[in-house]
């Protein structure tokens, strides 16, 4: 790949390695997300999808590899005790603030109302003006269809509603890339669609997104690229047509046939 496309990529990861307690979960995974790409990561349980996604915003620290966000190289050096210098920590926090993460289990702040959940990031991390943030937060909540519930607390919402709020919360930071980790896996089947609909809209408006998903049909519809992860390695990657219609790897063929 040319150096130009690397430095222009919204998110670039090269040869990421990660072990937990001596077991190598990521064995050198690379990925380039250009602006407006929608990349789906599929693979069986335990193949390292979440770990890979979490390495990209450094919720997990990769043991080796390179990460660039908008061409900016992340300093992954640690001192002997696993700590990081203040400067590095600040860079990491800044990078995280422009990568929006949506979790499988929503992780809304349960002691804050829906509106407060959406406003906290922009107000406290980006230090933006409260009134402006509130206007924007209400607009975002309106978009995901949660405006009339903006004073409710998360405990009183359904799973689908929580996830839509979580998406609004991530969007409020105006992130360059959205990361989704199985956003619909914790939902009852009848609630899945309301969340997928929101994500589909984001894809259509050209947001750069990387999502781990088990929704094969959805992945095929919205993705510009699909990545199949198997035992910590990328076994196959390409356009959705290519992967879903003509899977070459035997593992992927078996994986896909088990999905329907």
């Amino acid at each position: 790949m040319s150096t130009k496309s690397i430095s222009e990529a919204a998110l670039y990861a090269e040869d990421l390695h990660k072990s937990f307690g001596g077991i190598e979960v990521l064995k050198g995974v690379s990925l380039t997300a250009q602006k407006h790409d929608v990349i789906s990561i599929i693979g069986s349980s335990g193949s390292g999808k979440s770990t890979f996604l979490r390495c990209m915003n450094l919720l997990e620290f990769p043991d080796a590899g390179k990460i660039r966000v908008h061409g900016e190289k992340l300093d992954l050096s640690q001192n002997s005790r696993g700590g990081r210098s203040k400067h590095v920590q600040q860079q990491i926090e800044r990078i995280r603030s422009c990568l929006g993460m949506v979790f499988q289990s929503f992780n809304l702040w349960s002691h804050m109302s829906v509106l407060e959940n959406v406003m906290l990031g922009p107000c406290s991390v980006l230090k933006r003006n409260r009134d402006e943030v509130e206007v924007q937060a209400r607009a975002l909540l309106d978009r995901v269809g949660m405006l009339e519930k903006c004073h409710m607390y998360p405990d009183n919402l359904s799973g689908g509603q929580k996830q839509r709020v979580a998406i609004a919360r991530a969007l409020a930071m105006d992130p360059d890339v959205m990361l989704f980790d199985e956003p619909t896996s914790a939902l009852d089947p009848e609630l899945v669609n309301e969340v997928l609909l929101v994500i589909r809209e984001l894809a259509e408006e050209g947001r750069t997104m990387i999502m781990v998903t088990h929704e094969m049909r959805f992945a095929r519809d919205v993705s510009s690229q699909v990545v199949y992860l198997h035992q910590g390695r990328i076994e196959e990657q390409g356009s959705p047509e290519q992967l879903f219609n003509n899977p070459r790897s035997e593992h992927l063929q078996r994986f896909l046939s088990s999905q329907y």
Partner: protein
């Protein structure tokens, strides 16, 4: 019985003021000290962990009375040294000795309570803050501490009540709290009913405290109540007052 109250009631009330003062000050000092210590206690650094562990096991594992004697009479053994250090004025005064002992003791308990609270903070919620790029300070301020204190709140209330009652042993080193005055009155009148009045004073204080604490707790945990009729109310204030009202019923 009521005659006694007329003669000695004001004394008992003086004692109540002293009891409240001792409890309030020592528990507040402990409240300030316990949080940073609890956070350090959870750090992986053994340099912090072990001294705090030792401290906690000493103050939780020995009687409060023994601790009080150690500080009050023990410091007398070191009078020359303490005088030289300019600290004797502090240790010669039973009031300060009681405050110090109670504060240290309550810190140990509150520290353990907060440690449990910190441990029980839902990790996913912290991670959501990390993913947004929040620095440590913000994580604590906005997510970790609100959860910690909400979880620890009932246990902290309990600890304060225990301190209030345990504080009665201050009378043993001549302090005139409720118990101190009571013992004095009894030695003058040999009227056992004075102990009944003393018990009543403690009961009133703890009852009021429990009520206030419960009210505070309800405010802190209002997000956990089921919200009804929410659609008809929009402002946040209206929501919370409405909910409190409905909970009182």
């Amino acid at each position: 019985m009521f005659e006694l109250l007329i003669n000695y009631g004001p004394k008992l009330l003086d004692g109540a003021v002293m009891t409240l003062q001792l409890t309030f000050i020592s528990v507040s000092i402990a409240g300030l000290l316990s949080l940073p210590l609890a956070i350090l206690r959870r750090s992986k650094n053994i340099l912090w962990q072990w001294p705090i562990r030792l401290y906690v096991s000493f103050f939780r594992g020995t009687p409060l009375l023994a601790q009080l004697f150690l500080v009050y009479y023990g410091s007398g053994q070191f009078r020359p040294e303490l005088t030289e250090l300019g600290l004797w004025w502090f240790f010669r005064d039973p009031y300060y000795c009681a405050l110090l002992t109670f504060a240290l003791n309550s810190t140990a308990y509150q520290l353990e309570i907060l440690r449990g609270g910190l441990q029980a903070v839902p990790y996913g919620e912290v991670e959501a803050g990390v993913a947004l790029g929040m620095p440590r300070r913000l994580l604590y301020q906005k997510i970790i501490l609100p959860h910690t204190y909400r979880i620890a709140f009932p246990a902290l209330g309990n600890e304060i009540i225990l301190m209030l009652k345990g504080g009665a042993i201050a009378s043993v080193i001549t302090l005139l709290d409720v118990m101190g005055h009571t013992r004095r009155v009894f030695s003058q009148t040999f009227d056992i009913s004075v102990y009944l009045w003393a018990a009543l004073i403690y009961l009133v204080i703890t009852t009021v405290f429990v009520l206030v604490w419960r009210l505070l707790e309800r405010r802190l945990t209002r997000h956990m109540f089921y919200q009804r009729d929410i659609k008809r109310i929009t402002p946040v204030e209206a929501t919370s007052t409405k909910m409190e009202a409905s909970n009182v019923n």
